[in-house]
Every structure is written in C-alpha cells, then in structure tokens.
C-alpha cells in the first residue's frame, strides 16, 4: 500500500534522508524508531505530501502523494505537537475537517468526543497539551483515513490515556484495515502496538522487521559441553556469541522447537533456551550500529 523507494531528501546542505525504501502493508501498524534527528519526521512529512523528495518516489496505492489531493484525502497526519487553526474550538475544527475530508463521520466524532469527555465548544488552545492531543486523535479518527500518520503520538499522554488511544487505534485497524505509521524515539512505547518496526539512524534505515517473526525467531541459548566444543554452530544462524568460562552464550535465529531438538543431539551439560527482550533482539540484530541507537531501545 505505502511504498517509499530510494527516497533522498536534503535540507540545503544537510542530508536528512539518504536512499530509504520502505514498504508498508495495508492494515499494519508500522513503527518508525530513531533518535532525534534520525529523519523520522522528515520521512513522515514526505509521506504526508508536506515535503517533496529530491529523489525516489513516495506512493500510496501506486500514486504519488505530493500535490495529489485524492491520495492525500486518504491520509491524516498528526504532528508531534498537535496544531489547530488559530482560535478554533473542537467543533469548528470538526466542521473544517468535515468540509475537506469526504470520509468524515460526524456521528463517530460525537461518539468519540463523548468517550473522551471532551468539551467541543472550548477553544483548543486553552486545553492542556494532553487534551489537545486527545482532540487531535478524535478529529483524526473521525476523518476515517485509510492511512493514519502519527509523529511521536504518545508524548504528553498519561498511561491511562495512552492505553485508551492505543486501543482506539487497534480497534480502528481491526475494524477497517486502517494503516498506521507511528514514529517514536522509544521502542517500549510502541512495541505492544506495532507489528512492524523500522529503525532509522542519521537518515538511513538500519533495520526493518516484522515484530512477530522477530519475537518467535530470536532466542538466547546458554550451553556447556564436557570437553571440547562440538561443531554445533556451523549449521545454526548465530547473531552473537560469547564465552564465559565453559559456558557459551549465543543469540540464534530459528524456530524454538527446532533449536531445542538440534542442540539436544549434541548432549550438552547445560542447556537453556531463554526468551529475549525486544531491546536485546534489536541490539544483536543491528550489530555494531546497535550501540549508536541503544538509547531508543531502553
């Protein structure tokens, strides 16, 4: 559905994004991770048609996004600091969006406003930051976009509200196959929400993974053998290994049952198959570059 291929974008002399290609399937929730200045926001703005790429193409359903009103109508973008027309109330803002997005669902809007107990006749800029963000969500979801693009959406929301918002997103995705792109500088914030994770660093994409695959595919094993080490690792996909005394610690890829069965054949003295946290998986997956982006994983 969303296809970004070989996109490059620079701001005057500064290279913001270098040759990035991303593919997002319909109905998936795609997390874009990276530290500040990694180029996440730039990528999202390219996808929203705010910026235009220097090279490459940004398409949704095979059509260019930039200056394409019929495609942009399917997209709703919430900025990192939600912004509304000056002095507008939630209600006025809703009318504004209603006139612009043909998919606008006013019943849904009233429903959502009621759920969040939002005073729609109050000027938005008088709300606290958290409530403003809620308002942005309500307006966004009422527009019934096919693609929802969220830049750092969890900032400034308390845990209860986060849960509420996440549930709303998941429901919407489940109900009508909405595609969601979320940027974040913190993996934990989005790991329970996303099914794809991509990590950006200094304008490059370092990794793009299906989270379900990742969680079931990557394991940590600790093994020790009597005597010399048999050549068990030759036929396993190893991401990392280190030796502590006679114990060998490895991060391996593969299906848990198969690994278990395979290692057992060599009759180890000690053998544990341990679950890995998502952070650990990413750090091992990324190898050396992993250290540079460690802060976003913790």
């Amino acid at each position: 559905m969303i296809k970004i291929s070989n996109v490059r974008k620079s701001f005057e002399e500064l290279e913001a994004i270098e040759k990035i290609s991303i593919h997002v399937n319909k109905g998936s929730i795609y997390g874009l991770l990276g530290s500040n200045g990694a180029g996440k926001t730039t990528l999202l703005k390219l996808l929203t048609g705010i910026y235009v790429q220097d090279e490459g193409s940004v398409t949704i359903d095979g059509q260019q996004v930039f200056e394409n009103a019929s495609i942009k109508e399917k997209i709703f973008f919430i900025q990192d600091h939600p912004y509304f027309l000056p002095q507008y109330t939630v209600k006025q803002m809703a009318h504004f969006y209603k006139s612009i997005y043909s998919g606008w669902d006013h019943v849904r809007f009233k429903e959502l406003a009621a759920i969040f107990e939002l005073d729609i006749n109050k000027k938005i800029h008088r709300f606290s930051k958290g409530v403003q963000r809620q308002a942005a969500f309500i307006l966004a979801l009422s527009a019934r976009p096919e693609v929802l693009i969220l830049d750092e959406p969890m900032d400034g929301l308390d845990p209860v509200m986060r849960k509420k918002v996440k549930n709303l997103i998941i429901d919407e995705v489940a109900a009508r196959e909405m595609t969601v792109l979320i940027s974040s500088h913190n993996l934990r914030e989005v790991e329970d929400l996303c099914d794809y994770i991509a990590i950006m660093h200094k304008g490059n994409l370092i990794i793009e993974k299906d989270l379900d695959d990742l969680k079931t595919d990557t394991h940590k094993i600790q093994v020790a053998f009597k005597g010399s080490m048999p050549a068990i690792f030759d036929s396993m996909k190893i991401l990392h290994k280190e030796k502590r005394g006679s114990v060998m610690i490895c991060i391996v890829k593969g299906e848990a049952g198969e690994i278990l069965e395979y290692v057992q054949r060599f009759k180890p003295v000690i053998f544990d198959l341990l679950p890995l946290t998502l952070e650990e998986i990413f750090i091992y997956e990324m190898g050396d570059v992993g250290y540079a982006v460690q802060n976003i994983l913790g």
């Binding site: 701001f11 005057e12 730039t42 703005k45 929203t48 048609g49 705010i50 910026y51 235009v52 200056e67 009103a69 019929s70 495609i71 942009k72 109508e73 997209i75 709703f76 973008f77 900025q79 600091h81 912004y83 509304f84 027309l85 000056p86 002095q87 507008y88 009318h95 504004f96 209603k98 006139s99 612009i100 997005y101 043909s102």
Partner: protein
C-alpha cells in the same frame, strides 16, 4: 476518487475571514472616519464656505495614504501566516487540497476583504452625494475615480506583499521586504543617479532625478493622488504588474519548499541576491553621502567600503537571524573583485558616453546654462535655447574642451561652476550633460556665447519692449532708501528704452561676472499690463549719464547724499561669526569700536565706495554705510582688486 474540494471551500473561507476579518473592519472604520464622517461633519452651510475640496482623496489625505500603504501589507502578512509558521504550514499542507487551490482561495479572498471596505465607503458617499449637495465640490465620477484608484493601489501593494510572502519564511521579513521591493525602483534610481557622476563624466544626475521618476514607486506616486490622477499608461502598467505578481506568486508557491519555513528567504538562490544586493545598495548610499560631502576621493572610497560592509553584515544578520554572525570572507572578496571590475569597465567608457558630442549638423538647438535649474525652472514657458550655427558650434567646442580636460576638472574639488548642456537633436533625441568646472578656464567660449546677439535676445526682456507702447518706467534703487525714479514722458521713455537696449547690446560678459550689486531695479511697463524687468548694472555708464542730464540720478540710485558716513575696515580685523549668524547692527557696532576702522565722511569718497562695493560681505575689505534719513545700515565689501584707491592707501 474525485476530490471533494472544489475551487471554493466554505470552511476555508471562514478560516480566512476569522484570521484577517479584523483587518477589513479596521480599514472600514478608519476609512469611515476619514471620508464619510468628515463629509457629514462639514456639511453645515457655514462650514461649506471653508471647504476647498475637489476629490475624495483630499479628505484626510495623509490618513488615507497611511491606510493605503499599510493595510494591504498587513492583510498579506496575516493572511499568509500559515506559510510562515511551521506547524501551521504543516497542518494546511497536509490537507488534501492542492497548493494552487489554497493560493487562489487565500489570495482572492484576501483581495475581496481588502476592497470590501472601499466599496462600502463609496456606496456611503454615493448615498450622501445628493442630500449633502456634494456636486458643488466634485462630480459623481470623482467617487468612482477614488474607488478605482484606491482599489488599484490596494491591490498592487497587496499582491506585492503576497509575492514577497511566497519568497520569505518570516512574517516580519515579509512586511519589510515588501516595502523595500516597492521602493526599490525609486531608491535605485536615486542611488545610481547620485553615484554615476563619479564614474561617468558629464552624467546629469539632477536632470534624471527630476524627470518624474516618482511614478516608478506606488508608495511615492500615491502621495500625489490628491492633486493628479493616474495616467492610462500607469494604470495599464500597474494592472500588468498586478497580474504578473499574482501568477508569479502562484508559480513560486508551487515550488516553495515547506521545510524552509522560518528562514528569512526560502529559496537558497535568493540569499546571495539579497546579500549582495543589500551590500550594493548600501555601498551606493555610502558613496552618495560621502561623495556629496565633496571631501575628495579618499572619503568617497571610504564611504563605499563602509557602506558595502554594513549592508553585507546587516544582510547576513537577517539571513542568519542573529546579530552575532560569521562573515564569509570569500563572498566579500568575490564582491570586491566584481566591484573592481565594474569600476575598471567604467574607465573604458564602453558606450562612448563621455566622448559623445553630436555633430553640429545633427543639432536642432542647444540649451547652455550654468545650472540645471535654469533649464527646469525657467521663468518663461521654455528654457533658453540657442539655434544659431555659430552658438551651437561654440557650445560643442566648449563641450569638447571640457571633456578633453576631464582629468584636470575631476581632480579639482573646488570647481565652483556648473556647465549644463542640453542638445536637442534633429532626430528628436536629447543629449544632456552636466559638468563641474572652473569657468574662468573657458573664458573665451563663455565670452563669445554670452555676448552673442542671440543669447542676449533670449535672456533680456528689454528686447520685447516696444517704446511706443510703453507707459511707464520705474527705477528703484537697491539699498535702504525710500525713493524711486519714474519716467512717464513718452519722449523720455523712448530715449530710455533706446539707451538701455544699447547698454545691453554692448554689455561685456566680463562685467556681468563681477559680483557688484546692481544700482537699481528697472521695471518697464508696456502694452497690456506687461512688464519687462532688468538690473541697472554699474557698467551702464551711458544710462547713468542720461539720468544725470534728466536730473533723475539722485532718485534712481543710492548716492553719497543718502549716506552720512561710512566705516571701512579690513575683513581680517573684524570678527564675524559666520557660523552663528550675524546682524548688520552687530558688525556695525564692532567696526565702530575697532580702532583700525576708518570713518569716511567725504561725499566723493563715499560715492566711489558705492560704485565698487559688492553685495556680499565676503570680500577682503568691509564697508558699512550709514543711511542718515532711514537710520539704517548697509554693509558691503570689496575684493582686493576693487578697493577704491583712497582706501587702499589709507590701509597701507
């Protein structure tokens, strides 16, 4: 899927009205105060007597100008706030609306909100027209003219603001740059006109500055609307520019990169243009200031260097949005090199501007005078022109001589005289030159031209006088005396006119160059209330003799009999404070107290002093005359060479 957004979206319209509606309201209210309210308040019969108004601009004209200049820019700045605030820009541009559509809606809606108050005011005035008998002041057409001109200026300034808004990413810069853009044509003309004479020898800057250049800026020409209306060509040019600005703005907007919001200039290519443009203009300004001070080449160059640096640094400050800027030395070096090349190019006179002197057979007629103002502010309908081949050739040869002495003339900073030449060619073109020279170096030319019959005919009114139609001649002495010689006898009149004509005929150029105060001012009243006016120069001896014969001399000029005594002193001995200002009484007092002062009471000596004294007190000797009857003082001076012998001897 077809977009729901058609050309006009009601909600976008509402947004526009909510953000800039106040501008419209303010405009309406102030304009209402300025025009209809003024009309109503001055409508009583008593007040109407004092109203001198023949168009709508004349009601609170200054206020109208301020509105006309400020409101459109305020409108364009607030209307396009969404371009200059990052989050606002992101919000608007993430919407499924094409930029083209956004632009049309905003720009046109802004325009309507801008002109709506003007329309309403016009309607109000139309309603008041009949009941308040405004037809006594101006016709109905004036209301429509006011409406049209006001809208035209509003629209032009507004769309200039819109255009600048597309180029810049800061609202403050948008406002400032709009005014700079609108003033630029006039500003550049002034700056170039003042600077070119330093490089192009003979460039007549005043001539070009006077030639209605104010039309080139709407901000300047609008200030003339109370007393002139727009020419058709001006209207057409404004309309063309207006539409060009509209489409250019749209074109630029579509190319605008939104990430550059909050930068002073959005398009990288405009930054060097702005930077070097600012350096260039400010360099010319520095050159203009220090060049006009005429302190020599060193100051001029210093002015250029200082001006260019200042402009460069200020431009950098704007671009970097900080006063602590790092200066790119490389850019400055390139700029300096470019200016040096420009300077050298001027030295080659590539267009042959300096050497271009038309051939005598190409010239229809020529104006030659000592100042541009004798050309522009001529008393007659037309300045003095010479058509005689001999004179044309003389002016040409003088011109050639001046150009030949270019280097010498340029070096002398104390050149006091101006030679202003306008050739009107047979092909309809004009060639205008202005030189600062020391005219004593070109004495033969001046003598021949100014003593030529044609020149005298053109410059002396006496030649227009027909003696038989003359009814009266008055001769009023210069000086603090209350007397006048009047000639009414027809025979005397004929004789006087004859003698004066003769005197003018034979007047030598050299005599006209001595700064001696004329003896008297002569007015000749002839035919239907016409009046010829001339000076009685002390060199008109025949005339003096004739007056003496007729016993009119005593009345015709100041004589020794009017003066009881005179005080004379060397200028060096008298302390005159020119800077602070001085009064004749003070000087007289000081001379009186000064022991070196000479008191003259001999009538003959006084008489000879009157003859040679010049009107200014900047000579080597000061002489103060005491007029007995009027109890007043007149102070004059002598140059070393004009001092009467008796005084010279005394002081030696």
């Amino acid at each position: 899927m077809q977009s729901k957004i058609s050309l006009v979206n009601k909600e976008i319209g509402k947004t526009i009205a909510r953000s800039v509606g106040w501008v419209s309201i303010v405009y309406f209210l102030v304009l209402f105060f300025a025009v209809p309210l003024e009309i109503i308040m001055t409508s009583s019969a008593e007040q109407r007597k004092f109203i001198d108004i023949d168009n709508l601009f004349q009601y609170h004209f200054q206020l109208q100008i301020i509105l006309n200049i400020a409101i459109p820019v305020v409108m364009s700045v607030f209307l396009f706030r969404f371009l200059q605030v990052k989050q606002y820009s992101d919000l608007i541009h993430s919407l499924p609306v094409k930029r083209e559509s956004i632009f049309h809606q905003y720009a046109i809606a802004g325009f309507f909100l801008l002109v709506l108050p003007v329309f309403l005011i016009s309607i109000i005035v139309l309603i008041l027209y009949q009941p308040l008998y405004l037809n006594e002041f101006y016709s109905l057409g004036e209301i429509f003219k006011w409406l049209g001109i006001t809208i035209l200026y509003n629209a032009f300034i507004y769309f200039a603001g819109v255009f600048v808004g597309m180029v810049t990413g800061l609202s403050a810069v948008q406002g400032t740059l709009t005014y700079i853009l609108l003033l630029l044509p006039v500003g550049l003309i002034i700056l170039l006109a003042f600077n070119l004479p330093f490089y192009v020898y003979g460039y007549p800057s005043q001539y070009y500055l006077e030639s209605k250049f104010e039309k080139f800026s709407p901000l300047v020409s609008i200030t003339q609307m109370s007393h002139r209306s727009l020419l058709a060509t001006e209207i057409i040019i404004y309309l063309i520019l207006l539409f060009s600005l509209y489409w250019l703005s749209l074109w630029i907007y579509r190319k605008r990169k939104l990430e550059a919001v909050s930068q002073a200039l959005v398009f990288p290519i405009t930054k060097p243009i702005f930077k070097y443009g600012a350096a260039f203009c400010s360099m010319l300004l520095g050159g203009m200031y220090f060049g006009e001070m005429r302190n020599g080449m060193g100051w001029l160059i210093a002015g250029y260097v200082f001006g260019a640096l200042l402009g460069f640094v200020i431009a950098e400050m704007v671009l970097q949005k900080s006063w602590r800027v790092s200066i790119h030395i490389k850019g400055l070096v390139i700029y300096t090199a470019a200016m040096a090349v420009l300077f050298i190019l001027f030295q080659f006179d590539l267009t042959q501007y300096e050497k271009n002197i038309p051939a005598a057979n190409e010239i229809e007629r020529v104006h030659f005078s000592e100042s541009f103002y004798l050309y522009s502010d001529a008393d007659q309908d037309e300045p003095i022109y010479l058509k005689d081949y001999a004179n044309i050739d003389l002016v040409r040869r003088l011109h050639k001589e001046i150009v030949g002495n270019k280097d010498m003339n340029k070096l002398q900073s104390n050149n006091q005289n101006t030679a202003f030449i306008v050739y009107e060619l047979k092909n309809g073109e004009k060639l205008v030159r202005n030189y600062r020279i020391d005219k004593s170096k070109y004495h033969p030319f001046y003598k021949l031209i100014f003593e030529s019959a044609e020149y005298k005919m053109a410059t002396n009114e006496i030649y227009n006088v027909a003696a038989d139609e003359t009814t009266k001649i008055t001769i009023t002495p210069s000086g603090p005396v209350n007397k006048q010689a009047v000639i009414t006898d027809p025979e005397d009149i004929t004789a006087t006119v004859e003698i004066l004509t003769e005197e003018v005929d034979s007047a030598a150029y050299d005599d006209s160059q001595i700064q001696v105060e004329p003896y008297a001012y002569i007015e000749i009243f002839y035919s239907d209330n016409k009046k010829a006016y001339m000076h009685w120069d002390p060199s008109y001896i025949k005339f003096e003799k004739w007056l003496k014969e007729k016993s009119l001399l005593d009345k015709a000029r100041v004589t020794g009999n009017d003066i009881s005594y005179a005080l004379a002193a060397k200028a060096a001995d008298i302390d005159i404070d020119y800077a602070r200002g001085y009064s004749y009484e003070e000087i007289f007092e000081e001379m009186n107290e000064n022991p070196l002062t000479l008191k003259i009471t001999d009538k003959d000596q006084i008489e000879s002093s009157i003859k040679n004294a010049k009107g200014f007190i900047d000579g080597d000797y000061i002489i103060a005359f005491y007029f007995d009857e009027q109890r007043s003082i007149d102070i004059k001076s002598f140059n070393e060479k004009d001092v009467p012998d008796f005084l010279k001897r005394q002081f030696e």
